[in-house]
Point group: D2
Chain length 281, copies 4
């Protein structure tokens, strides 16, 4: 019998770097988690333990810190491209470099009622993400957002769905719609104002979510994606993942109390998952 190694990759995860830049009148911080992943000529590392092509994951970690020193970290997209090019240009044995980055949110702290130039507190839960893939032939840049918990209190229903013998769910015209939004979009260029573009796209996603007359999670997901593609010409394609964070109406009738969409129990599991990808034709 004969065996082939049909794919292989390796890299370093959870490299957590903070860069502090001391400007004249304020201190700027960026906190970024980096993951690097390589594909290439690593067959003999597997088959006979020949490590001569293997740039250690420890070196990958060191490289993230060292390159952060002389890079602005202005956006994670730019830093990711810089990292990907470094690894690609210096390692002919690597055919594909993937760099994943995720940025945590810090906001200036209010002290004595005004933003303090050197003190911060964690902003929302959400992370800004980017994924760079670089080969000899191409580079793709994706940006995204993850773990953004959003909720609308109305304009959300789910009815006239398919029913079978195991269906007990009732039609509803008014429910809480909550999700932990993950989105990732592909750019058709790597020469962009990544910061402004991200900001615009995030606003389109949220504005759609807030305003949409939702007939289902699927329905709103589609509206969010189309709004992005209609407004952001730099975007080719967008993946959206919207798990349903169920807020279930509590049955208060045993206590002779009405519950007209007032009291909900927040549940973690089981949960519905809805995913979709929209792209230009």
């Amino acid at each position: 019998m004969s065996i082939k190694l049909s794919s292989t990759s390796y890299g370093k995860s959870a490299v957590r770097v903070m860069k502090l830049t001391k400007h004249a009148d304020w201190h700027e911080i960026k906190e970024v988690d980096v993951r690097t992943l390589f594909e290439g000529e690593f067959e003999e590392a597997h088959t006979i333990g020949d490590n001569t092509n293997v740039l250690p994951t420890d070196t990958q970690k060191n490289t993230v810190f060292a390159l952060a020193k002389n890079h602005s970290l202005n956006t994670i997209e730019e830093f990711g491209i810089h990292l990907a090019k470094h690894f690609h240009d210096n390692n002919p044995q690597i055919h594909k470099v993937r760099v994943e980055l995720s940025q945590k949110q810090w906001v200036q702290m209010l002290a004595d009622g005004k933003p303090h130039p050197e003190a911060y507190q964690r902003g929302g839960n959400e992370k800004w993400t980017a994924v760079i893939e670089l080969t000899a032939d191409s580079m793709t840049v994706q940006s995204g957002i993850s773990d953004l918990l959003i909720l609308k209190t109305t304009n959300s229903g789910f009815s006239n769905f398919r029913r079978d013998e195991y269906t007990t769910l009732k039609d509803t015209e008014d429910r809480i719609f909550a999700t932990s939004l993950t989105a990732l979009w592909d750019y058709n260029s790597s020469d962009l104002d990544f910061g402004k573009t991200r900001k615009d796209i995030q606003e389109h996603l949220l504005t759609s979510f807030a305003n949409h007359k939702s007939l289902s999670v699927q329905h709103t997901l589609y509206d969010m994606g189309t709004r992005v593609l209609n407004h952001a010409e730099q975007v080719n394609k967008i993946d959206i993942d919207m798990p349903n964070k169920h807020h279930l109406l509590v049955n208060l009738s045993p206590f002779d109390l009405a519950n007209d969409n007032e009291i909900f129990v927040v549940t973690e599991d089981p949960y519905g998952e809805i995913k979709g990808t929209l792209e230009r034709k």
Copy 2:
């Protein structure tokens, strides 16, 4: 041999309630996790399995939802007092009711550039907390905050500490100081504007953290506590817990790079812990 049951308690945890109130021009949401814990005449439940004094934890859960229906949930302190009184007044076998509450942060979502009346996103990570303890003789009300991640980029050192044969740490006059703040304070009254008082105290804690010339975590913790006691006459006592979220300077010298407080690695463990309680003499 003779055995006594020297203490016992029971209750319900992780009762996650959301209350939605539809005002004329906006929808208000409150998300609160509730924990109830009872002490009292439960010896025979343990010794002979006599459950006649045991109000089920399932009933405690139902009660939280049912009482939320007719209560504003304006503040968790008021709702906690209401719950504690309900359980205490209706259950002579319960000698002490403890209610712990924790409120998650939601902020109005921006849509088309302005706050949307019916859409929200999760605010910061922090939770607002309250603890009510009620017996026949007394009621104590505590308020607090937990999981508030804060960081200052300068005005923090640690030097001239005790050294022994296992000490390798160097003095530093300038470091990143980051912590996940937990604080809990006791009020000397239960007749307060809990919302405003909490807001003021949180501002004092953050203003002290931001402005203090810190010689150690202990030093800043003390400044934060004294600022609260000096400004908030309603507070008797405050506990502060400040685990050190270490941001360690990365050694870039092997790469011939300086690192003048620019590049840090964020670590989770091991971590230092500093706790203190301040009260009026």
Copy 3:
């Protein structure tokens, strides 16, 4: 501009079912987490909110519980196939059903020194997994294992690797090798003794890990995969994912102590990741 919905899927996650079967002389338990995911004719659910093709995720959850009632749950593979066929056969609008299952480990508790017929404790951390994909044309069955924490104290080195300006790692001939093993393998048939086959494959994976003279994680991963393919003719392909759970040698030299592979610090991040797929040629 024109937009297409290039892919979409939805389903239910974290459906946690326990089945209890009371045999004459002992009670058997199975704890399985199920995830269902559908692809098919859901375009109009997205584009115009027409839900007539959408079998609710709530119904999917109900179906898992209802079908568990009359199925043995003997193996998660059999139960997964049963679920996939049910959804596929009754829903022509679904083109592809994916069912993911994960089984937690329970072992009989020792009481008075012997296994108790009705009492259990959680076994190891690891989960047994299965993935079923069913379309009109084909069914694939995969089995796997996840979260299995394994460690070897010797016969593991990493040396003669590629070096660059950011490399500080030293060659080592002897280190602790620890990983949280995830593996997933494809069967060339769905008519198997899934229980015995899984047991055999898991033994091959562990025996290889334990005995291999490891020159790198990649090297051992390959040995583990080849051993499975060489011994288990039912397997076509195997994916193995071995994140490096680093146990770093502590530098005790400041304390005039040697550390000849005796004292290690266990770290969570950053961590190396090594993945590979082996298949028959």
Copy 4:
């Protein structure tokens, strides 16, 4: 106004040490997480930032690793006592040393059907714990267990409980009883065979849990505690904490299926909590 610092403590948490001992014919590993916590003369560290009494938490971490080098780590109780004495004897400014330890379970891996002398896999989820407190006047040693997930399929009911207007729970004579056991007991001596004593006590806890005809969680908790106190003369007192890991009977009646304690949904929240302390009179 006058403020006092009524209590203060500091220390290091999550110091994760693995000790590897290479015996002639097998390799032994111990994985222990250590937390140290000091109380003493630290007032001026807080009030004026005088660190001369403050042994850094970094030094505490170093000490754990350094002392592990020349200690057997035979039991966490012995290692904890050794650590506590070291800190106490060398630091007159520390009035109370608390050391908390928790040991993870590793079992020898089977390779080719027999235990491999150098390969391990994680055992169950549970951790063995110990707490040492040392002052000039006294030393207390506690041992315990945490995160031990246990379940019994029968001999558990809950009925004839107190009812009020918010009670909807029905009496049950037969249910699944599952909990994540945490127990902590005090010894009346520090001159014990800690390993054997722990093993005996754990067996008593589990044997009671398995065999008890349970009328409530409280009832079984008491039986477990009394069995320990009746059999282990070294134990003065035991705390037991048994959160209810609810396995709720699924209502299958909408599908015309009976559910005679066969199909359960496993839920995480809300959950009941039951705690008790038993001691000798």
